[in-house]
């Protein structure tokens, strides 16, 4: 069983060589690890490697293929690359340029929408205001743009990274 895993712009090839309960032998880019790994709590792993004790906490996104990984001092964004992910990635590139949508990195609420479909806006214009936790953030366009589609309305609760407005 082998997989490709993305971490910090590195693409690592991981292969499970052997598994005996919590004792596993894994190869990461050819380097062999003998590891004692056990899930102790929901999403929390205790790992012993060369008698060092590591605690690794995972938060998985909905698709199950992206993880936020917390180790002792570092936090990593890690992604599993399988056939499906590769296909989706290539498809995504074709259809949606990230620059063609406006989204908020955090969940919140739509306070005000300053444009309507069909509007032509100028670079730096604010198009939407989002509030989250006592703080309002204005989202502006970087270039002159056309508002193609508005997917939310004022007062809507929104998720982090949800597409709010499609621009062209």
């Amino acid at each position: 069983m082998a997989l490709e895993i993305n971490i910090n712009n590195r693409k690592a090839n991981v292969e499970l060589l052997n598994k005996d309960n919590n004792k596993i032998k894994v190869s990461v880019d050819g380097k062999i690890y003998d590891i004692d790994l056990v899930m102790v709590e929901n999403g929390v792993y205790s790992i012993l490697y060369k008698n060092k004790s590591y605690n690794v906490e995972l938060t998985q996104n909905k698709s199950g293929k992206k993880y936020i990984v917390n180790t002792l001092y570092n936090s990593y964004d890690v992604e599993i690359i399988d056939a499906e992910s590769k296909y989706l990635k290539s498809r995504q590139k074709e259809h949606i340029d990230e620059e063609d949508t406006i989204s908020s990195p955090m969940p919140g609420k739509v306070v005000k929408i300053l444009v309507k479909t069909g509007d032509k806006v100028k670079a730096g214009d604010t198009v939407i205001i989002i509030s989250a936790m006592k703080m309002e953030s204005e989202y502006k366009v970087k270039k002159d743009r056309l508002i193609k589609n508005i997917l939310v309305k004022e007062g809507d609760k929104i998720d982090g990274n949800q597409t709010l407005i499609v621009i062209e």
């Binding site: 991981v14 990461v28 906490e57 919140g108």
Partner: protein, 502 residues
Amino acid sequence: MIKKVLVANRGEIAIRVMRSCREIGITSVAVYSEADRTSMHVRYADEAYYIGTSPSNESYLVIEKIIDAAKRSGAEAIHPGYGFLSENAELSDRCKKEGIIFIGPSANAISTMGDKITARKTMIKAGVPVIPGTTEKISTEKKAIETVKEIGLPVMIKASAGGGGKGMRLVKKENEILGALRAAKSEALSAFGDDTVYVEKYIESPHHIEFQILADKYGNTIHLFERECSVQRRHQKVIEETPSPIMTSKVREEMGKYAVAAAKAVNYEGAGTIEFIVDDKLNYYFLEMNTRLQVEHPITERVVGIDLVKEQINIANGMKLSYKQDELKQNGHAIECRIYAEDPDNNFLPSPGIIKHITEPLGLGVRHDGYVYEGYEIPIYYDPLISKLIIWGKTRDETIKRMKRALYAYKITGIKTTIKFLEKIMNTPDFIKGKYNTHFIENNFNFLMTEQKSVGDCEDIAIITVFMDYMNNLEKIRPKISSELQVNNWKSCGRKKSLMRL
């Protein structure tokens, strides 16, 4: 005597107040908005009343609803916590009219201290040192230029109704005066509906040092020493400690006396805080009074050994202060770290969401005041404070090391938090040396924002853990896959029937 208290707040402070109520046999009443049905303060309270939809101006900020819940529950008193209505003179007044005890000062004390110009005048009258500047509002632009020249540059132009850094402008050069004045006035008008501004001397490398005070209804007023609150990000306190690393016992005694005088000047009742601005030479000036419990009150509780909420309730009950000034002393050192649901790597954007997993630090010298639990969703409507770690040590050095130990063991997944940022502060040489002022975070920004380098095999360990977790999940969902296969089989059921044991 008060038997039932309504806590007009949420989050950690509501629970903190209820804990002391429970210890002295007082029934606690929670109020909650739509977003807070599952919030811990509702679960912890003896009773709970729904007061409206999620935005705070439709629930926690509506005096009518708070008073109504108090009446329905039969609570004799209201504790406002901090934030929300805690410094609202109208609530204090309304309580009085309704015959409900407001656990806090009179409307008059709140208003006097709430208006900066009035507060300045009152302090000058009481002999408390204030920052050189005007005691009257700036009436004309001409007068403004004159006044600034009189005080000497640099100066701050400040909104009288101000707070939170709004309606404030720093003026360094003479030709900036008019622009700054106009900007401050217009911002003050739109933020507070009042464009009154005044001018103060700007203190170059200021420390924020505040004194906790307690005052009963009989004019007895004591102070519980200082808290150093100079570690701030955008005028928001991040870390507080007591004693202040720059304080001397002589200055402490002087400032304490002024703090008591400041409280007495407004016939203060209850717990309050006198904030001073202090320069590197330990010159100190009255800045403002917070007429409520502070977020950072626990460090004082730890070092002085007094439960401030119990004292507030005692005072509200019309009892005399339990302590005299000379019975109080500072014992050891305490530091508070505020843990926020914010993403330090993304400009401290709030990071609400569902707490997936939490491990709380325990053990010697650790006090933890929080309110979240596993599975709880931090709502988007309120302050992103998750909890406060209050660490005590015999010495400042021990306290810092213990704080590091506690932060190390404090794990929250599912949301972004400021834990690692706080760890960085504990490792910053200026902080360790106790040599810092309110510019600490900007001065050390690069150090604070440098990501810890991956140590040893950490990256590979992360990869392996994700790999194994993903594999395990695949195994778990395998039955599903096989049932999908069954569906396919079913389709060809007619064909294969003869081969299967039905």
